[in-house]
Amino acid sequence: MGGIVLNGLEKAFGSTTAIHQLDLTIVDGGLITLLGPSGCGKTTTLRCVAGLETPTAGSIQIGDTTVVDVAAKKVVPPHKRKVGMVFQSYALWPHMTTASNVAYPLKRRRMPREQIKQQVTDALKAVGMEAYGDRYAHELSGGQQQRAALARGLVSAGDVMLFDEPLSNLDARLRMSMRSEIRRLHDKFRHTAIYVTHDQHEALAISDQIVIMNGGRIEQIGLPREVYDRPANRFVADFVGFENLFDCLAVESTESGPVAICAGGLRVPVQEATEGLEPGCAVAFRARLVKRARPGEPRAGVSVRGRVVEAMYAGEALRFLVEIAEGEHVTVDVPVARYSDSTTTNVGENIDLFVPLPDIVVVR
């Protein structure tokens, strides 16, 4: 058994570099997600682990085996790496039945016939496809194809499972259920897994750890919760959906301690939660954590007043765009007022806003 260690991984296609000096360790049995916009190098990283690409520098270790070491000119070809992979297009072979698809990796490993049969049955049962073994790929629905591909990946995997955006061709509902299915199977088989996606919610739901990538570099590594709530930098904050981001312009000393002056005239006390805030950094917060302030209600946080310039109904919440200074807006989500509520907010109205200090994140 073993984890995966990427060391100084680099991959260039001609003059463009897809991955820059990537170091990453995935613990044995962990499921890590590579998350990022398209072209961020996540798929290339995955393919390097699979052996479908050869890196231009660095090394990859799977368990105790070094599968690639560019300096030592060592490359283990993909068919000897014993990894399972689920492709975006499923890549089910159309000339074989589902069962033959699943049996193929076992045949390649010269497993005895009865054992193959047993394993195929087990794998199909695990993904709930035992009834469809003799169907061809085109006779399956999208979700079933996905399950078949999963089963094939599972039997092929020695210690490592790789997922290349496996859910992106499914509709939203199916995606939700397959998501938990993949996690369930992971918990059952405990492969070391790398999962590539650009969908943050998928990543949040499925991963032990998330790696956010951009431009071939790692922006942040962390638990799903960390990444979602405490982004390390502007890119991650933006990527995981922080609607509000204000650059810090200066830090003033006041009686109650240092206060950072941010874009839009936002005054942010520099305390424990906002430690390290200084020019060059920025504060970020989510729209749904912004509150309507009752005037004269003192609390630790940021208060600001502005004029509502836009209001959008978004089902669970109302989203306001509030202008706090010329060209500077705060996005605010407020729960939709119940019909019994008397207070409503109109465009053009001036309102007071308040963000509790613990909900503010300092990003680089």
């Binding site: 068919h79 159309p94 193929y104 990796p105 061809y136 650009h198 969908d199």
Partner: protein
Amino acid sequence: MNAQQVDSFVAPGAISATSSRRKRSLDPFGKIQWPVAICGVLLFVSPVIMIVVGAFRTTPFTGGRWTLDAMAEVFTNPATYRASWETASIAVVTVLISMVIAIFFVTLSTRTNSPLRGLIPAMMAFVVAMPPLFYGISWGLLGNQTSGLLNEFITVFWAFDSGPVNAESWWGLVAVSALRSVGFQYFLLLGAFMAMDRSLEEAARLSGASPVRAFFTVQLPVLFPAIGGVTILSLIVFLESFDIPAILGIPAGIYVLPTEVFNYLNSGAGPEYARASALSLILITIMLLLVYLQYRMMGRRSFVTVSGKGDNHGTWDLGRWRWPAALAIVLYALFAAVLPVTQLVVGSLAPFMGASSGFSFDNFAEVLENEKIMYAFGLTAIVAAVGAAIAVLVSFVMLWAAKLRRGVPRTLIGTAQWLPAALPGIVLGLGVLWFFLLLPPLRGLVGTPFSLVFAMVISVIPLAGRAVEGAIAQVPMSLEEASWASGANKFTALTGITARIMSPSLINGWLLSFVVLSGTLAIPLLLSSTTGGLLSVHVYKAYTAGRVELAAAIFVLLMIEILLVTALAVIVRVLLQRKRATYLGRPQVRGQEGNLNDENTR
């Protein structure tokens, strides 16, 4: 603005067109299939029916009566069976060898980093453009045991009493036919190989298959329909090929079915239409059998799911095999194109074919000064261009209609467009002629360019169809559906979306058809009476009068014309592709629209 929305622009449904979805969404339009199927049967089957009828008539023209004599005569003649056996064995060996070579070169040019692989398409185009008559003659000269260039070259290095290479032999016939077949097989396979989803092969690699094993257990089987179709077509094309067997086979005592058909049609006692038709029935039967065989082999498996969704990187690094691969390309180019073309050009400069001195441009001067031949140049270009365009258009409409829905019409369309392939050119020409004579409204068109183009279109349909077929499979129906949804009617959707996206493949199909039609002889010989002869007819005249050198000069000019047109078509295709790249944006479609829904459900 959320960063993750930057690259979400296409619904995932757009790339997951399963067969059930396709079927459901197209049901209301199924009606269109029947008229297309009926037209197809009328177009392609009626000349064949005329041939079948012809086998049982004393004369296919007015005043004949029904008879079984011809059938009895042909099928009791042992020569028929000898020729059938000879034809079949040579066809099978030739096609097997040439398919292996063609697959090898398609793989080299689409999947590897072999040096010189960029030359392969040009080289193959050259081979296709070489008319079989001259291919046969060139190789007859090159591979002559006493005076062939090849043998003279070899005997410089090794001492042989007589040249070791003899083109006029069983293996010579097979080798030369195979070299030539590779050309069009390559083009017919190209689309399928390029469109194949690479992840299918990658999945095999990750499942523990070595590159070679992945190639043989996944890539080849997945491409089976394409490979099977091309194999069948090559078999049929060989079954009706006349020139090379006549030139290289007869000196070796090899007689094949097309030579026998020719013998009946040109018999000293006058043309024996009935016997020739009866013999052609063997070809038709074999062809139907082959198509049925392919259908059976495919069985329940459907290959529509093979599509170009995967990323296209991932060529094999051949490593130290790069140079042997390059050498293979050079060797093939030498034997299949350079040597025969050189022989042809040398012949066109010679005062007589086979001369070793006195070379000049006199033959070219003679051709260029001949108004009729010059006129024929333009006429041939126009007829071939129009014929090829119609053939591609007809194939496109028929195959598109066939794709709409499963059922009887689909089978009809599928089989009908194969039928013309089973008829040797002259027999097909006769079938078309009799068909026209049978219907009074069409009778007046006999001998006009209309009947000529009609027959040429039919003759080239099986070839054009293969090129179009591959292209149609690449276009997901959903793209067309999207344009219906956008308010386009069926026709606009077809021409505006499907045809536009496929246009590079359609141009390929057109080019292939154009090249073949430019050199085709049997049909214009029969049907071009009032239009003036096409170029091939002039070549035939010169050739039969022993003016081989003049015929060679005309052909050299024809090759130049074909190369110019090819260059033009390539430019158009490149322009179209560039345009297409801009309006389709990023080809790697990543479905993402579910995110907004997720936002709400959280």
